[in-house]
């Protein structure tokens, strides 16, 4: 936690003038008239971990798809380290250093875990030879706890291991920006803890991270800043604590009535309660 609290917790992009690692500029994506992402703008600072949360269907995965290049925006521009990447193909973005995972794991089913990772190292990681790629793959498997499963085939893995493999392959790209799409969904509390530690570790090695999750609990341990989207729009942004106590966020997740009740309850000692929660660094959504 220490490194996270030492970071500036600005709710708006830092006015330092430094080029953001990632910048979405008025991005809209419509799927047949229905906007999945609606005029959304945000930026991620170099070295930051940005959490993106929202209820089901909020457009979280679409955001990952837009940044990764699998989905083309209807309108707007995406910049990576100041460079316009809106028209680039997914593989070009991967070679620039943008790695992504898939919400529904997409392993190379017939290849074993080691080979799955080698492919990432060879192409996105831009290594020339198989032996170099194999060495990177070994390191990555060690780091993600898949070492013992190196010889299993992609379709022989459990859900948790498939998620690990998604992370491992993305890491093999030696990315500058890592996009994680619900890598913690469906994991046990212990596995979530492991994943959180891994993401922090990756972030500390200098990688900018965007973590998309449905569950707030998973994200607050890793995020410097959290962006909440609902129906493709930003409804809140700030530190995990700020966002957690935002009535709009509670409403989006739990419905209007619950939000009213909760607010009524919290009203008497609202200030103390918030401060206390912020100090403890936890929330209960």
């Amino acid at each position: 936690m220490s490194h996270a609290s030492s970071r500036p917790m600005a709710s708006e992009p830092a006015a330092s003038g430094a080029t953001p690692a990632l910048e979405l500029d008025h991005i809209t994506k419509r799927f047949g008239g229905l906007p999945a992402v609606d005029d959304l703008s945000f930026s991620v600072h170099p070295g930051e971990t940005l959490g993106v949360i929202g209820p089901n269907g909020a457009g979280k995965s679409t955001v990952i798809g837009l940044v990764g290049g699998a989905i083309a925006p209807t309108r707007g521009a995406i910049r990576f380290q100041g460079r316009d990447i809106t028209r680039m193909t997914p593989h070009q973005r991967a070679q620039l250093g943008i790695a992504r995972t898939f919400q529904i794991a997409q392993p190379f089913a017939g290849l074993d875990v080691h080979e799955n990772v080698i492919v990432g190292a060879l192409f996105g990681g831009r290594l020339r030879t198989r032996s170099e790629a194999a060495r990177v793959a070994d390191e990555v498997l060690e780091r993600t706890g898949l070492r013992a499963k190196a010889r299993l085939k992609g379709d022989e893995l459990t859900v948790a291991d498939r998620k690990r493999l998604e992370m491992a392959r993305a890491l093999a790209l030696r990315p500058r920006l890592l996009l994680l799409d619900e890598v913690m969904a469906g994991l046990t509390p212990y596995e979530v803890e492991q994943a959180v530690r891994l993401i922090r570790d990756i972030n500390q090695s200098g990688v900018t991270v965007v973590v998309v999750e449905h569950i707030m609990k998973a994200i607050q341990g890793v995020s410097d800043r959290v962006l909440v989207i609902h129906f493709g729009k930003r409804i809140a942004e700030g530190t995990p604590q700020q966002v957690l106590s935002d009535p709009k966020v509670i409403e989006a997740y739990l419905g209007e009535r619950y939000a009213r009740e909760r607010q009524a309850q919290a009203q008497p000692q609202a200030n103390e309660g918030d401060a206390e929660r912020a100090a403890r660094g936890e929330g209960d959504i």
């Binding site: 992504r100 190379f108 198989r130 093999a172 790209l173």
Partner: protein, 357 residues
């Protein structure tokens, strides 16, 4: 590389991983089979020579199809188009008195450019749509050759034989096909070890993930299609000057859809996406085909159909993978060959049972 770095102690997979040994075995066996086939002319039988020339030709076709259909996983149903292009290029070249070898080069170039032009739109399609599109292109080319009266009134070609004794020329064509089979085997082995091979297999296993990991999937698919076209066209060019007379489409035609179907069936019987599979499939099917056409003429017709059904039901992964599955030992456990075999049999029965039989 000189000294082992501390991290290398923890290396999970050594340089001699199982798959590394496997390609050596496959390559060695493949070379051995080709070497044995090379002895056929010593038998002195024109029938045997003709049979094995056809087998060598189909080894080339099945191995070439394997690049796009096996490794990349794109079910190309129109590879006969490249074969026909090769055959007709040679026909037109020879009728104009241009040297044969120059014609072969031209045939390869035309087929490669054609594969590029057709591949660019067609490789944006997937699965059935890709299969139907390639089939359509091949059929259209055959119809074009027939309707434009290239050669005779409906595309028939008659060529003057090479200016040498037919026995010698038959042996030469046999070795030409066999040499080409060797070249395609070498390309296959190179492919399994190369960056491109990794890219193609990744595309086959999961194209979405392949693209996200930095593989320019579209260009690799187009390359695989062109790589598949070139040797196929060369085989067509050899076929034309060897057979001297052929038609556009229909039975025995250079654009006959049966040639496409046969090369696919061969690759599948042996194992699509393996080094040895297409070669084994080509030998078995072409041998059976020729044998039954003489021994059981009535049975010969339905044979191909029956084989397609049997292979898709029982052996969708091919003979090579069946053997591999039989002998596979669970990761990290050392077992005797008998135990492994027994376990393998159980796995394979389960495998077939799960396939709906």
């Amino acid at each position: 590389m000189a000294r082992a770095a501390p991290t290398e102690e923890r290396t999970i997979v050594s340089a001699s991983a199982p798959d590394t040994r496997e390609w050596r075995w496959s390559f060695g066996i493949g070379l051995g089979i080709l070497a044995l086939i090379a002895l056929v002319p010593l038998l002195g039988s024109q029938t045997a020579l003709s049979l094995w020339t056809f087998i060598a030709m189909y080894i080339v076709l099945a191995q070439s199809w394997n690049f796009i259909g096996g490794y990349t996983g794109y079910p190309a149903f129109g590879n006969v188009a490249f074969f026909g292009i090769g055959a007709y290029t040679i026909a037109l070249i020879l009728q104009r008195g241009i040297p044969y070898l120059l014609g072969l080069g031209l045939a390869v170039a035309i087929a490669a450019v054609f594969a590029l032009i057709v591949g660019l739109p067609v490789l944006r399609l997937r699965g059935h749509y890709f299969a139907i599109a390639t089939l359509g292109v091949a059929e259209a080319l055959g119809e074009f050759a027939a309707s434009k009266d290239i050669g005779g009134p409906s595309g028939e070609i008659f060529l003057n034989p090479p200016p040498i004794n037919y026995r010698i020329s038959n042996v030469l064509f046999f070795y030409a096909f066999l040499g080409l089979a060797l070249v395609t085997l070498l390309i296959t082995v190179w492919l399994t070890r190369s960056r491109m091979g990794y890219a193609l297999v990744a595309i086959r296993e999961n194209e979405l993930a392949a693209e996200a990991l930095g593989i320019p999937t579209y260009w690799y698919k187009v390359s695989a299609f062109v790589l598949s076209a070139a040797p196929t066209a060369l085989a067509g060019g050899l076929f034309a000057y060897w057979q001297l007379a052929f038609e556009a489409s229909g039975e025995g035609g250079a654009f006959d859809v049966n040639i496409s179907v046969t090369m696919i069936l061969m690759a599948f019987l042996g194992g699509a996406g393996t080094i040895l599979g297409p070669m084994l499939g080509a030998i078995i099917i072409e041998y059976l085909d020729q044998y039954t056409s003489i021994a059981f003429p009535a049975f010969h017709g339905p044979l191909l159909g029956a084989l397609i059904v049997l292979v898709t039901i029982f052996l969708p992964q091919g003979l090579i993978r069946l053997v591999r599955e039989l002998m596979r030992s669970p990761a990290g456990v050392k077992l005797s060959y008998t135990t492994r075999f027994k376990q393998g049999v159980r796995r394979v029965t389960r495998f077939i049972a799960s396939n709906g039989v």
